[in-house]
Each structure stands twice: as structure tokens, then as C-alpha cells.
């Protein structure tokens, strides 16, 4: 079937220039990364790669230079600011001897400008979540007027960590089987996303034989009954009545298989996707399985249930306002 690769191990091998995998010498493309190995293309690609590499190096250099210069300016800033304040103050003093308020106002305004720019600088230092030591940013400021800057820095750091902690649980949806909690302790389930839950099994026998599945568990909506949920050696003989809540959309293969004593099942809602095998062999002993449909159950997929016991019994469908 594959003529060119028939002598896979025997043929002379070469390395793919892109992914370095071993490939046949006369292959026209690499099997593992599907790159065409037409010579011209390879040369072109390599040239492009070289160009890309130089471009990346140049960009990195520029970045390093830019950050270096910014850091340099920031580091030099406090000295220049204090120098500016000193000089403006001296000018102000000398000017106030000669003239009136305007120049003094100017010096003040220059002073506030300088301090505001300083606090900005401190904020930049404080925003870095890595710098947990607030004195690191505080050391930048050597004037008393800016003593509050480190505090603001630490506050922003706190808030950033808090926000990241709040985001963390949203990102991960865990698929872990978990036992039901008190009140629902006869069920086991599996949360499939933030709002929905599926029933995976039954862990405790109900003495009355009634299994009422709750509409919500832990605030999550029950949307499906998974395969073999009630088909458990300990459980299946005890099942007599089952109430399926309104929001259940699907019942999977063999969910109620081998439940020989199941006589009544109540659908509160509209179970749209019900496996034709959901009730296989169920209620063969009692002979009749009565299926009670709610009024809003418009889609009668229940016809499939007729197949469930190899034709040895008939399901009875009754309208039910549950």
C-alpha cells in the first residue's frame, strides 16, 4: 500500500531540518511535522529563520536598552527631584527677597509636581508582585514627604495577590467523583461544569424502594443520569419507584438495566435524549413498567422503551401532572 515507506528501516535516513526527526532520504516531506522538504523551500525557510532570529535578537537588544534606560532614569530621578526642590527653594528664597508671591507659587507648584512624579515612580515599583519588600521601593524616595509611598505600594501588591486568588478556582473544572452530602447521601454524582451535575450512581439502599432524585445538588442542576447509575448489584433489586427531576435532559445506556422490580418512573420534565438501552431488561419480573410523563413532555421519545425487555412486557404511558 505504501510503496515509498515500505523499506522503512533499510532506507538511508536524514534529519528533518525543522523538527530534527529521522526521515527517509528521498522523502519529499517530513512525516512528523508535515513540512515539505523541497530544497528551495528549505533554503528559503532557513533564510527566513535566520532573518527572524536576527530580528528577535535586535528586538531583545532594544528592549533591554529601553528597560535599562528607564531603570536608569527612575533611579536617577529622586536625586534630580531633590536637587530641583533645593534649587527652586533657594531661588524662591532669593526671589521672595526681590519680588512677591508669583515666583514662590511657582516654586511650590514645582515642588508638588516633583512629589507627584515621585509617588508615581514608587507605585511602579510597588506594582511588581515579586518585590515583597516594600523598603525596596521605599529606598528610592529619600524625602520625608514621600514616606507614604511604600504603603501604597504594599497595598497594590496585596490587592493584586487577592485578585489572583479570587480568579484561581474559576479556571479549573475538576472531574472527580464525589459522594453526595447529607440529605442526598444515597446518590453519587459528578459535576460537569459550573452549573450542571450528572448522577453517576446510588450508594445507599432506599428501604421504601423510592428514589427521588433532587432537582439541584449543591446548588447545581441535575441534568443527566449516567450509564449504569442504578444498575448496581446492591441497588438494582431494591429500585421500585424513581422520580426524575425536571431538568434531566438525558438518561444514558443501561441506567436502569436489571432493575427487575422497577414498576413506576415519573418524569417531571422532558428527558429529550434517553438511550434506547436505558431500561434494557428492567421490570421483567413485575411485567409492567408504568412511565408517567409530565404535561410538558411533548417529545415522546419513550417509544424506545418498548424495546427494553425484548418485547416480554409493555410499557404503559400515562399522563402525569407532577
Amino acid at each position: 500500500m505504501h510503496t515509498i515507506w515500505r523499506h522503512w528501516g533499510k532506507a538511508a535516513m536524514k534529519k528533518c531540518p525543522v523538527c530534527k526527526a529521522e526521515i527517509e532520504d528521498n522523502a519529499r516531506f517530513c512525516l512528523y511535522c508535515m513540512t515539505s522538504l523541497d530544497e528551495k523551500q528549505a533554503v528559503k525557510k532557513q533564510k527566513e529563520k535566520g532573518r527572524m532570529r536576527t530580528a528577535i535578537i535586535a528586538a531583545l537588544l532594544v528592549l533591554v536598552l529601553a528597560t535599562g534606560s528607564v531603570w536608569f532614569v527612575l533611579r536617577r530621578n529622586p536625586a534630580s527631584v531633590t536637587a530641583g526642590q533645593n534649587s527652586s527653594a533657594s531661588i524662591g528664597v532669593s526671589a521672595s527677597q526681590d519680588t512677591d508671591s508669583p515666583s514662590a507659587d511657582m516654586s511650590r507648584s514645582r515642588g508638588t509636581e516633583a512629589s507627584s512624579s515621585m509617588s508615581d515612580g514608587a507605585d511602579i515599583g510597588g506594582e511588581d508582585p515579586q518585590s515583597e519588600d516594600p523598603t525596596g521601593s521605599g529606598s528610592v524616595s529619600d524625602t520625608d514627604s514621600l514616606a507614604s509611598a511604600p504603603n501604597t505600594g504594599s497595598q497594590t501588591a496585596d490587592s493584586s495577590t487577592a485578585s489572583s486568588a479570587a480568579q484561581a478556582p474559576v479556571s479549573s473544572v475538576t472531574y472527580v467523583y464525589r459522594q453526595a452530602q447529607k440529605g442526598d447521601d444515597y446518590l453519587s454524582w459528578l459535576p460537569i461544569d459550573e452549573n450542571d451535575i450528572v448522577i453517576t450512581g446510588v450508594s445507599t439502599v432506599s428501604e421504601s424502594g423510592e428514589y427521588v432524585i433532587p432537582e439541584t445538588i449543591d446548588g447545581k442542576t441535575v441534568i443527566a443520569i449516567m450509564g449504569n447509575a442504578f444498575n448496581d448489584e446492591q441497588i438494582r433489586d431494591t429500585v421500585k419507584k424513581v422520580v426524575v427531576p425536571a431538568n434531566v435532559k438525558s438518561i444514558w445506556d443501561h441506567a436502569f438495566s436489571m432493575c427487575y422490580n422497577l414498576t413506576d418512573i415519573y418524569f417531571c420534565g422532558n428527558a429529550v435524549y434517553t438511550s434506547p438501552y436505558a431500561f434494557a431488561l428492567a421490570s421483567r419480573r413485575t411485567g409492567t413498567l408504568t412511565i408517567y410523563c409530565s404535561a410538558d413532555c411533548t417529545d415522546r421519545n419513550f417509544r424506545y422503551y418498548k424495546n427494553c425487555a425484548d418485547g416480554s412486557y409493555d410499557a404503559v404511558y400515562e399522563e402525569w401532572n407532577g
Binding site: 505504501h2 526527526a21 516531506f29 512528523y32 461544569d193
Partner: protein, 239 residues
């Protein structure tokens, strides 16, 4: 005329090269024109596969050419292009795919699926054995035995497909539609990258995210179309 009679008639002009597969009365033969030396694939089915009649009118780089579909008394015979290549499953025997390669293969498959889905056909058997790569690197999706037409209100009555690649709804829970193939494509991507089913090991990085979304139990949570999945694959260009 019966299927057997028709195939016997073919051997006047063609010679048998090999039997590619033979199961469930579906027989696939590779035959060669005695004079021209050109190869062709003959499928014989005991039932009629509607998808082939539709495929006759399609030309797509990622689908095999269907030369003819002959309805017969006891089945159907399909004459199909022979693709001289290697299946993804055979490539996997000697090593895993690099992300770049897996993406290119999957994009070919998705292109084929888009064409099929546009015509209301679902393939329902996307797996490494059914993806062939020819010697020029052309990716072709083959084997339409399990394919069917999407209709509005019927469930899958017969369970078809391959365990592991078949989505939950294919196993009788709901009607299979385009998103059934998306599920299988997700599994295919994971198998190409890791060699394992997503339930055992999921691919690393963003590819894993794509696999996870493709293989959601609820079809509504998957990518809605093959084109959308291809877009997601495009979204991060590494090289």
C-alpha cells in the same frame, strides 16, 4: 446483476492487486488496469451507502475521488481513487507527531469534514486508520462506511463507529450531527500528539485545551463547526 457478478466482470479489464479489508460483508479491493497500470479501489456493500452518491459530485483535495457508484440487486459497488500513501496509524507506529505536523494533518481532515458537513453528511468514523497521507503530503480522509445523512428528528438506531473515537451521542444517546465528527477529530489530535486516548493522557499546552473542548460530553459545549476548530488551531502560530 449481483455484486459478485459485477466484480467478476471487472476482472476482464482489471487485475486484483490486494484485498485491503474484508469485514461485515463490506469488501475493499485494490485493482489495476491491465493495460494502463493505473490503480483503483473497489468497495462492495450489501446495503446502499447514501454518502457515496453525494461524494460523486464533490471534488475536494482531502477526499478521495469517487469515480462511480453502481446500485445492484443485492447491494452497491463503488469505484474510488486509490491513494498511494501511508495512514496516520502507520506513521504512529514509528513515532508521535510534532504539533506542527498534527495541526497540518488535522487541518486537512477538517477541510474534508467541512465539505461533508456542508452537504449534510457526517463521517462518524474519523480515526488514524482512516486518514491517509500520500507521497506529496496530501491528507485524505477515507472510509465512508459509517457515514450517514443528518436528518432532523431521528436517533442513531444502529451503533456504528469505533469505540474510543465514537462520541457519546453516537452510542445511542442522541442524534449524531457535525459535532460527532468534531469529537472524533479531538480524539485524533490527542492520539497524534500523545499516542493515547484523552481519557488516559491529554496533550500538553493549548492543544490539550482544544482536545478538551472537542471531547465535551454535551455536543453544545464542543466547537460548533469544523471550520471553528480549524480557526482555533490557527490561533497560535508557533512557527
Amino acid at each position: 446483476m449481483t455484486v459478485e457478478g459485477y466484480i467478476k466482470g471487472l476482472f476482464d479489464t482489471y487485475s486484483l492487486v490486494s484485498v485491503l479489508s474484508e469485514k461485515n460483508d463490506c469488501c475493499v479491493l485494490r485493482i489495476r488496469n491491465k493495460e494502463l497500470g493505473k490503480d483503483m479501489v473497489v468497495h462492495s456493500f450489501p446495503r446502499s451507502v447514501a454518502a457515496y452518491e453525494e461524494l460523486c459530485r464533490i471534488t475536494c483535495e482531502n477526499l478521495p475521488m469517487i469515480y462511480d457508484v453502481i446500485p445492484l440487486e443485492d447491494g452497491q459497488v463503488v469505484l474510488e481513487e486509490f491513494i498511494d500513501g501511508i495512514t496516520v496509524a502507520q506513521v504512529m507506529e514509528s513515532g508521535k507527531y510534532k504539533y506542527l505536523g498534527a495541526r497540518r494533518v488535522l487541518k486537512g481532515v477538517l477541510n474534508a469534514l467541512t465539505v461533508l458537513h456542508e452537504r449534510n453528511l457526517v463521517h462518524r468514523d474519523v480515526k488514524p486508520e482512516n486518514v491517509v497521507i500520500d507521497k506529496n503530503g496530501r491528507v485524505v480522509l477515507i472510509d465512508f462506511n459509517a457515514s450517514r445523512r443528518i436528518s432532523a428528528a431521528s436517533k442513531d438506531t444502529v451503533v456504528m463507529g469505533t469505540v474510543g473515537y465514537a462520541s457519546p451521542e453516537q452510542l445511542g444517546v442522541a442524534q449524531s450531527d457535525a459535532r460527532t465528527d468534531i469529537y472524533a477529530a479531538g480524539v485524533l489530535l490527542n492520539v497524534m500528539l500523545t499516542g493515547k486516548h484523552p481519557s488516559e493522557q491529554i496533550a500538553k499546552g493549548r492543544a490539550g485545551g482544544i482536545v478538551r473542548r472537542c471531547t465535551q460530553v454535551n455536543p453544545n459545549d464542543r466547537y460548533p463547526t469544523a471550520a471553528k476548530l480549524a480557526e482555533a488551531l490557527n490561533a497560535f502560530h508557533l512557527r
